[in-house]
C-alpha cells in the first residue's frame, strides 16, 4: 500500500516477478470469491440462486469445445469479418472524399454527425425488417458499427496531412496524383489502421447483439438456446467463448499492427 511511485524502483524483488505474483493472487482471490458465493447461494433463496462454480463452468466449456464450438465460432467470425472489412473499406473511401474535398465535407459531414449518435444497435430491428434473419442483415449491422467508428479516424487522417509536407511535395514537382499516392493515402491508412482496431470490439459486440436478436446461427444463437433451457453453466461458458474470441482478435491485430507500423510507440498500442 505504498503510494510512492518514485520509490518503487529500489525494491529487492524484481518488479516483473512481483507483478506476476500479485496478478496471480488477484485471479485466485476472484475465483475463490466466486466459488464461495456459488456455495453460499446454492442453498438459500435470493435473486441469484443459480450461480454455478467456476469448475462447473470450465467443465461445460470443455464439453462445448468438444461439440459445436468450432462451427459456431466460425459462423460468428464469418459475419464479423465480412462486416468489418466492408465497414473499413467504406469508411476509408468516405473519409478520403470528405476529408480532402471541402465542399463535400461541408455538405455531408453534418449528416454523418447526425447519424453517428444513433448507434448500430438501434438499427437492429430495422435491419430485421429489411434483411430478415439471415447473414446479410448481420453483416450490414457489423459493417455499420465499424463504419461509424472508422470514419472518424479516416477523416482525421485525411485532414491532418501536414501542410508543410504537401507544400514540399508540390515544390519537388509532384503532381496531384503522386501527392495523393505517396502522402495523403499512407497518412489516411495509418489512422484507419488504428480505427480498425478500436472498431474490433464495437463490431464484435454488434455481432453478439445481432445474433441474440436474430438467433439462427453462431455463438449468439447458441447463447440464446442455452438461456432458454435455463442452463446457467452453459450460458457462462458461452460468454467465456465470446470473451476469448474477442481477446484473440485483439491480440492478433495488435501483433499485426506492430509489424505494419513499427514506428508507433508501444504507448499508443496499449489497450483502447
Amino acid at each position: 500500500m505504498d503510494p510512492k511511485p518514485e520509490a518503487a524502483g529500489n525494491r529487492r524483488r524484481s518488479p516483473h516477478a512481483q507483478a506476476w505474483l500479485l496478478g496471480a493472487a488477484g485471479v485466485a482471490i476472484a475465483l475463490a470469491a466466486w466459488t464461495l458465493l456459488a456455495y453460499l447461494l446454492a442453498g438459500g433463496g435470493g435473486v441469484i440462486n443459480r450461480l454455478p462454480t467456476p469448475l462447473r463452468v470450465a467443465r461445460d466449456l470443455l464439453r462445448y469445445a468438444s461439440a459445436d464450438l468450432a462451427r459456431d465460432v466460425l459462423s460468428s467470425l464469418r459475419v464479423f469479418l465480412l462486416g468489418w472489412l466492408g465497414g473499413v473499406v467504406c469508411a476509408t473511401l468516405a473519409g478520403l472524399l470528405l476529408g480532402r474535398v471541402r465542399l463535400l465535407a461541408n455538405v455531408f459531414l453534418p449528416v454523418v454527425e447526425a447519424i453517428r449518435p444513433v448507434s448500430s444497435i438501434a438499427w437492429v430491428p430495422l435491419s430485421i425488417v429489411w434483411f430478415g434473419f439471415g447473414l446479410t442483415g448481420k453483416v450490414f449491422l457489423v459493417g455499420l458499427a465499424v463504419f461509424l467508428v472508422v470514419i472518424v479516424y479516416a477523416l482525421d487522417g485525411a485532414r491532418r496531412i501536414p501542410p508543410d509536407l504537401v507544400r514540399t511535395a508540390s515544390m519537388l514537382g509532384m503532381n496531384a496524383r503522386q501527392r495523393f499516392a505517396s502522402l495523403v493515402l499512407p497518412g489516411t491508412l495509418a489512422e484507419v489502421l488504428i480505427g480498425s482496431r478500436v472498431a474490433l470490439m464495437a463490431g464484435w459486440g454488434t455481432v453478439i447483439v445481432a445474433e441474440l436478436v436474430a438467433a439462427d446461427s453462431g455463438l449468439g444463437a447458441h447463447l440464446i438456446g442455452v438461456e432458454q433451457s435455463y442452463d446457467v453453466p452453459a450460458v457462462m461458458a458461452t460468454m467465456a467463448c465470446f470473451a476469448l474470441t474477442g481477446f484473440a482478435m485483439n491480440a492478433l491485430f495488435t501483433l499485426a499492427e506492430r509489424r505494419l507500423m513499427p514506428w508507433r510507440s508501444d504507448d499508443t498500442l496499449a489497450a483502447p
Partner: protein, 257 residues
Amino acid sequence: MTHPRAHARLIKDRLLLPLAGVLLVLAAWEATVVAYQLPAIVLPSPWAVLRALGELVRTSAFWHDVGVSLYEFAVGYAFGTVLGIACGLVMGESRAFRQAATPVVESLRFVVPFAWIPLTILWFGTSVVGKIVLVAYAVFFVMIVSTARAIAQVDPTLTRVARMLGMTPARRAIAVHLRAAAPTIASAARAAAAIGWIAVVAAEYVGASAGLGLMITNAATSLATPVVIAGMVVIGLVGAGVSALIGILARKRLEAP
C-alpha cells in the same frame, strides 16, 4: 470574423451547406420511395416517419417506455460511475492493488456487456433490475480503467508538493490526484453514458416488460416500419441528449472552485 466577407463565408459553411446536405439526403430518400414505389413496410417516406413520431409523442405508452428506459439508465449509470471511479482511484493509488486487480479487470473487460444480457434475464427476469445491473457493469469497466489511467498520469510534482505540505495519503488521493485527473475522468464519464444507453436498448430487445427497445422490436414484428425508424430517431436523440447533459454537468462541476 469581423470581416464581412469572412462572416458571410462562415454562414455559408456552417449553415447553408449543412442544410443543403440534410435536404439532399431527405430528397434522395423521398425520391427512392417514389421512384421504386416502395411500400411503407420496406421504406416509409420521411413524412410518414415524421407523422409516426408525431402520433407516438401523443400517446402515454410512449412516454412510459421512455421513462422506464431512462430510469434504468440513470440508476445503473449512477452506481457504475461511483463504484468505477472509487475502484479506479484505489487502483491508481496503490501499486499492489493495481497489479493484483489488472488481470481480473482486463479479462472481464473482454466479456462485453451485451454478452451478459441472457444471464441477466435468467437471474433477474425481464424486470428493470437486470438492466440496471447491465448498465452499471458496462459503465463500471469504462470508468475503472480510465480513472486508474488518469490517476497514473497525474503530474508527480503535485504528489511531491502535497507530501511536503503534510497531507495524508487519503487526503492526497482525493484532494490532489482526483482533482487533477478530473477532466480526463469527466470525458470518460461522457463516453460511458453513450455505452450505457446502448446497453439499455440492447437488453430491452432481448427481454423486457417495458422500454424503448421493447417498443421498437414490437413495432418491427408488426412491420410498422415508420414507428421503427421514429423509435431509432428517439433513441439517438435521447442518447445524444444524455451525453450532452452529462458533459455540461461535468464541466460545471469542474469549473466551480
